[in-house]
């Protein structure tokens, strides 16, 4: 498949238009700021840095920033254009609609990842000790990568489905990720945050231990692709039968 550079370029411009650029910078740099605060305020910060980094990445980066970045970039990939009617300029081109879905999804994933990579690496650089080798942030990044892939698939689909995609996306994050998956054991296997944590622990090969124990790896390998492919197929189907009504 050839690369549709123009769709990528347009989506990129859309995602980082106006205030979203500042928001992206804030997401990327807040963990760094917290790491500095930790370094300055905690007297024996070296000894506690492992615990600090684990807590920071697990609860703040993977638990909060990752779904927020994904909901913003994922829902904007289509949502903005459906809202203002500019999607029609892509639809009246001799280009199969599935390509629009694929490239918009790819851009949403890459944009979310671009924000999340510094959010993981920069605090590690500040608090790192010999006990915290590079393998540790690397395994967190593997988890973040899985999270980006699944979250963006969900939120891109949401962006094409409803005009209030951002609101529903945030509700989803609060309801499924923050409340249900932490209180009802069964819903853990639907939580993308749990998938990301589980993959981070697995790829750390013993170097990263996160408690409480996240969902088992087989659950991730089954439920992850089911949600990912399900959401992408749904988006493809949705755009294929998308009709430009007189009053959108």
């Amino acid at each position: 498949m050839s690369i549709d550079g123009t769709i990528i370029w347009l989506t990129w411009r859309q995602l980082f238009a106006r205030r979203r650029l500042y928001l992206a910078a804030a997401f990327a740099l807040t963990p760094l700021l917290l790491a500095f605060v930790f370094r300055v305020l905690i007297p024996d910060s070296d000894a506690a840095s492992g615990e600090f980094l684990t807590g920071l990445v697990r609860d703040f980066v993977i638990g909060t920033l990752l779904p927020l970045a994904a909901v913003i970039f994922g829902t904007t990939a289509f949502g903005g254009e459906v809202d203002d009617g500019t999607l029609v300029y892509l639809l009246v081109k001799p280009l199969p609609r599935w390509r629009v879905v694929v490239w918009k999804y790819v851009v949403a994933v890459l944009s979310t990842a671009a924000v999340m990579i510094p959010a993981v690496l920069l605090p590690w650089l500040v608090v790192r000790t010999p006990e915290l080798p590079f393998r540790i942030p690397l395994s967190y990044l593997a988890g973040v990568g899985v999270g980006c892939l699944v979250y963006c698939a969900i939120f891109v689909a949401l962006g094409l489905t409803t005009r209030r995609s951002l609101v529903f996306g945030l509700l989803y994050i609060v309801a499924i990720e923050m409340v249900l998956s932490r209180t009802i054991i069964g819903t853990k296997s639907l939580s993308v945050r749990e998938f990301a944590i589980s993959v981070a622990q697995w790829s750390g090969n013993g170097a990263v231990t996160l408690s409480p124990t996240p969902v088992s790896l087989p659950t991730v390998w089954i439920m992850g692709p089911v949600i990912l492919i399900g959401a992408i197929v749904f988006t493809l189907w949705k755009l294929q039968r998308f009709e430009v009504a007189e009053r959108l």
Binding site: G5, T6, I7, W9, L10, R13, Q14, A17, R18, D84, G85, T86, V88, Y89, L90, L91, V92, K93, P94, L95, P96, R97, Q240, E243, V244, A245, E246, L248
Partner: protein, 304 residues
């Protein structure tokens, strides 16, 4: 090759609302105007031709093939949508280039430059579209549509927001493009916009094709219809009697708030009324045409 568009008993409804009802017509090279009040179904017809809406019943064909669900038709079809929105963060030039690239044209930059020159927007081409006036936005949309030299061009209310000079320029452009054998379809809710422009006019009212024909024919149908005026005067009863003697008047009704006069010829009445009032020494206090709304003009066509 001569291109053509055909609607065969095409209907489209959204839930319980019928937007387009059983419309049949064939459009060939030249300019066709689709005229009708807001909500008449003009945009739905254009979107069906553009393949963005499936007809709920009937067929919409481009060169004999159904238009909906086939992205390859956009090699020859272009649409200028009514909605004003164009990506505000792009410059005019970037927007035209983007269109050219999405069409995979061999030299997108040259095609974009040509399209921008066509709509006379060279000076503002490096400004962000977000800073454009309504008329400029319309023109950059038209540039984006013409970038790949389409043979069927659908323009939904293209003159909205343009000043008279831009409007004349754009009319010239469209006439020229149509003279080269393109099928150009323009929707409008203003009959005068289509004067000297559309060879063929389709009038739509409430989703139906109410009339079709040459602009002059439609114009005659619209102006020769009966008109109703509400008149208040110093002596309504006497004025009513006087007016009934005029052959152009075919009905007078006395009401509490004056008289309602129905005439077949608006011009004749407006000339006769002041003279008749003066000779009968009646003072005219108020003359008010009661049926000048677009909807009433168009609904007359449907009833006729």
């Amino acid at each position: 090759m001569t291109h053509h568009v055909e609607l065969r008993r095409a209907s489209r409804w959204y839930g319980n609302v019928v937007a387009v009802n059983d419309v049949s017509c064939a459009l060939g090279p030249g300019i066709t105007g689709v005229l009708g009040p807001n909500g008449a179904g003009k945009t739905t017809v254009l979107h069906m031709i553009a393949g963005l809406l499936h007809p709920s019943a009937g067929e919409v064909l481009i060169d004999g093939e159904p238009s909906a669900g086939r992205s390859e038709i956009y090699r020859k079809v272009a649409l200028v949508p009514e909605r004003e929105a164009v990506h505000p963060f792009l410059t005019g030039c970037e927007f035209a280039r983007m269109s050219a690239r999405l069409h995979r044209l061999p030299d997108p930059d040259a095609a974009a430059a040509r399209a921008i020159a066509l709509v006379d927007l060279e000076e503002a081409q490096h400004r962000r579209i977000g800073t454009y006036s309504k008329g400029m936005r319309q023109r950059i949309k038209i540039a984006g549509a013409f970038v790949h030299d389409p043979s069927i061009v659908l323009l939904d209310e293209p003159f909205n927001g343009m000043d008279p000079r831009q409007r004349l320029h754009m009319m010239d452009v469209l006439r020229r493009e149509a003279a080269e054998g393109r099928v150009v379809v323009i929707s409008s809710h203003i009959l005068e916009e289509l004067a000297d422009l559309a060879d063929n006019v389709l009038v739509m009212v409430a989703g139906r094709l109410a009339a079709s024909g040459h602009y002059r024919e439609i114009r005659r149908l619209m102006t020769d219809r009966p008109h109703t005026f509400r008149i208040r005067s110093s002596d309504d009863r006497r004025l009513a009697a006087t007016l009934l003697s005029d052959v152009s008047v075919f009905g007078v009704e006395l009401t509490d708030s004056g008289i309602v006069v129905r005439t077949a010829e608006r011009r004749a009445l407006t000339q006769h009324l002041p003279r008749a009032a003066r000779s009968a020494q009646i003072r005219l206090l108020e003359i008010h045409p009661t049926d000048e709304s677009l909807e009433s003009v168009f609904s007359y066509l449907v009833e006729g």
